[in-house]
Amino acid sequence: MTSEPGNEPDRRRFLLSSLSGAGTAWITLNWPAVMAAAEHAAQAAKAAVPPQLEALTAEQAAAVEAIAARIIPTDDSPGAREAGVIYFIDRALTTFATESLADYQKGLPVFEAKTRELFPSVQRFSEAAPEQQDAVLKALDEQPFFELVRSHTVMGFLSDPMRGGNRDGVGWKLIGFDSSPAFTPPFGYYDRDYRGWQPPPKQEGKT
């Protein structure tokens, strides 16, 4: 579903077809600027980030990744783990969410403690079985820290890949989002056969 940016002929055809009469002169003058602008986001998306940890320790990262993998599990399609959500989160904690690092440092030990409380034989949350991990999450999912990790996980799954997560657009593919910089109508199933707005049908409406 996700189309590759740089699909030049389609966008060109669309942009030209959306113009008529005086507009054609306009596009001739402004074509380079329009194309440059429309492709800006697509170009930015190509700036991939090398996966490395800066904010979290390897142990913390393993716990966060395990939590994220229960929030958006891997089943017949990729989940948070395959999307590289952990790298998004780690990078977030050194950029726009630096103030949240303390919450992770305080919150992760609570997950570990709850794991040992519920499953004394398990040493670490990241080593627990998925069903055990779900039980720990259920016990803690009303906590503000869980909501923080949930938000960060979802962000990392679905934000622009240039932010470190959503690798290969797996999140976008799951939800059916096409990241092309421009579209052309019809957009969906129900507007395919639309014939334009018409005045009200004959029966006079109640007002």
Binding site: F14, A37, F157, I175, G176, F177, P185, Y189, Y190, D191
Partner: protein
């Protein structure tokens, strides 16, 4: 930044305008075109439109286009009796173009009734419900001016409830989306009157600007091709081209100074390096939005004006209205792909005035919309019935994002004195100035109104082909993007802050023009009316200046 004139702060310009948004942009363009020298002080940076991207993190987490919680923290409380807690409640644009850069661009006109409701409906207990000192007839030429000069797409005559208009829209409506078709067909079945949404987004090239490319990034994002009719795309370039208007960015106004006659002499501001400057001017216009305009007046208190500038009425910051909102999410069997194209496609105004016999005051519009991006939808739009994590959550995401739409209501808010913006007594911003405090509790009628409208949305969806409908519970509002009524307009200096020409009752050469001027809230979608007011204010202020009365 495009080339423009540069004035020294010591140069006494004709007008200094605080804010370059919906109102400030129009005033800057109109007054500079009329021959006046103008300096616009804009708190935020100039962001070249070609650099606007689709990155949700920049937009929602880094606040690239809006006010920033770390620099400008806020507090919130429900009533004046509560201790306000730190909470970021009022969101506004903080860049050249202001909120018009990131808005959704809904541009219906207010109706005749919006200006004269108090006379028609009588008083409403617990409110300062009042008529405006101007009527729709005064405003009509300026609504037309907005449509033609700023650029609005729409279809005149499509709604039987629309007020009189002197000209059609300059360009046709945007192409319909699946949500619009579903909404339209269901509304006809109900006997209601759906019409193409008037949008400040160009459906085709217009006045040297590009038409929409349907990228879907309107709400929350800047338009990289300039098809969204923000002040940045439509007004600011024209102001700069006059050679008489300087847009001075990263200039944070903190005080309007007055002389011993009680006249404004100019505006003190911080530059990017937080150095203080003073821009001299013959007259001062505040278009800083419904939060920052009253805050600046309160910050400008002096021995002559101990309760804040232009505040002899005590009304500065009070009667905040944010517009009621309710919504229903509906999922369909086939894909709608609502993330493409403009956010809103169809509107209906059959409930603009709800029957008073129901026992409450109010009214509003319903629309078909989405306006969601993947991340924002997945974080914030989860229905209460859906698990927030795990396999079921993932399945809901996969099945609903491309197959869903919202039917939303946009409604009246009543003017209640306790609802306000004020200066927080404790919290300071990054410049050491008192932070903004928001106090807000919906009037009971406002909550009944949005509930009534949500019930109509459910009726509409019941006759559509929706496979599943999710009601978002109605809650008291604790956040605001429509910042209205906080320096209300009126003829009586005891009951209002500005007169019908936007001149403050107390300071003869100080004018306020933005959402703060509203007397009543309309039914949402206030920016069209803010801009019509600004075009009208520019006419009135310019004429007064030419008569030597400023």
């Amino acid at each position: 930044m495009p080339p423009q004139v540069a004035y020294k702060p010591s140069h006494k310009v004709d007008f200094v305008i605080v804010g370059s948004g919906s109102a400030g942009g129009v005033l800057a363009k109109e007054l500079s075109t009329a021959g006046f020298s103008v300096v616009v002080l804009e708190q935020g940076p100039y962001i070249p439109p070609s650099s606007f991207g689709h990155d949700e993190i920049a937009q929602s987490q880094e606040h690239a286009l809006t006010n920033k919680p770390d620099l400008s923290p806020q507090t919130f409380r429900k009533t004046p009796q509560d201790k306000a807690q730190k909470q970021f409640s009022a969101i506004y644009g903080r860049c050249v173009g202001g909120g018009s850069v990131h808005f959704t661009a809904n541009y219906w006109r207010f109706h005749e009734i919006d200006f004269i409701e108090r006379s028609h409906r009588g008083p409403v207990a617990g409110t300062a419900f009042a008529d405006w000192p101007i009527t729709y007839t005064d405003m009509e030429p300026y609504y037309t001016k907005v449509e033609w000069e700023v650029g609005v797409s729409g279809l005149a005559g499509a709604s039987p409830f629309d007020p009189y208009r002197s000209k059609p829209y300059p360009i046709p409506p945007l192409p319909v989306k699946s949500s619009g078709v579903i909404f339209e067909r269901a509304a006809w079945k109900m006997g209601w009157h759906p019409f193409p949404a008037p949008m400040a987004i160009l459906s085709q090239p217009y006045r040297g600007r590009a038409g929409c490319i349907y990228c879907g990034r309107c709400l929350g994002f800047g338009c990289e091709v300039g098809a969204k009719s923000s002040s940045l795309a439509s007004m600011i370039p024209l102001a700069q081209q006059t050679g008489r208007c300087e847009i001075r960015t990263e200039s944070y106004a903190f005080k309007v100074e007055t002389d011993h006659h009680g006249r404004a002499t100019g505006v003190a501001y911080f530059d990017r390096q937080r150095r203080q400057h003073f821009q001299k001017a013959r007259a001062v216009i505040l278009s800083a939005n419904g939060a920052e305009t009253p805050r600046l007046l309160l910050l400008s208190a002096s021995s002559r004006f101990p309760d804040g500038l232009a505040n002899s009425s005590g009304f500065v910051g009070k009667y905040l209205m944010v517009n009621g909102f309710s919504t229903v999410l509906a999922t369909f069997d086939e894909p709608l792909n609502e993330y493409k194209g403009a956010a809103v496609g169809r509107v209906l105004h059959d409930f603009y005035e709800i029957d008073p016999k129901l026992g409450f005051y109010g009214g509003g519009g319903l629309d078909a919309r989405f306006g969601q991006t993947p991340m924002g939808y997945a974080v914030n739009s989860v229905p209460t019935e859906v698990p927030r994590w795990g396999t079921a959550y993932k399945r809901w995401l996969a099945e609903s994002f491309s197959h869903s739409m919202f039917v939303s209501s946009h409604a009246t808010s009543l003017p209640v004195e306790a609802n306000s913006f004020s200066l927080d007594p404790d919290l300071k911003d990054a410049w050491g100035l008192p932070a903004l405090c928001m106090t807000y509790k919906d009037h009971p009628d406002d909550l009944k109104t949005v509930k009534y409208l949500q019930d109509r949305a459910l009726e509409l969806l019941a006759v559509s082909r929706a496979s599943k409908v999710w009601v978002r519970p109605i809650r008291e509002q604790t956040h605001a993007v429509h910042l209205l009524g906080t320096c209300r307009m009126g003829n009586d200096p005891k009951l209002s802050v500005v007169n019908a020409d936007h001149r403050t009752h107390d300071v003869p050469n100080l004018f306020l023009c933005d959402g703060s001027s509203f007397v009543t809230s309309g039914r949402g979608q206030p920016t069209m009316t803010i801009q019509a007011l600004a075009f009208r204010a520019a006419d009135r202020i310019g004429a007064a200046a030419r008569r030597g009365e400023v």
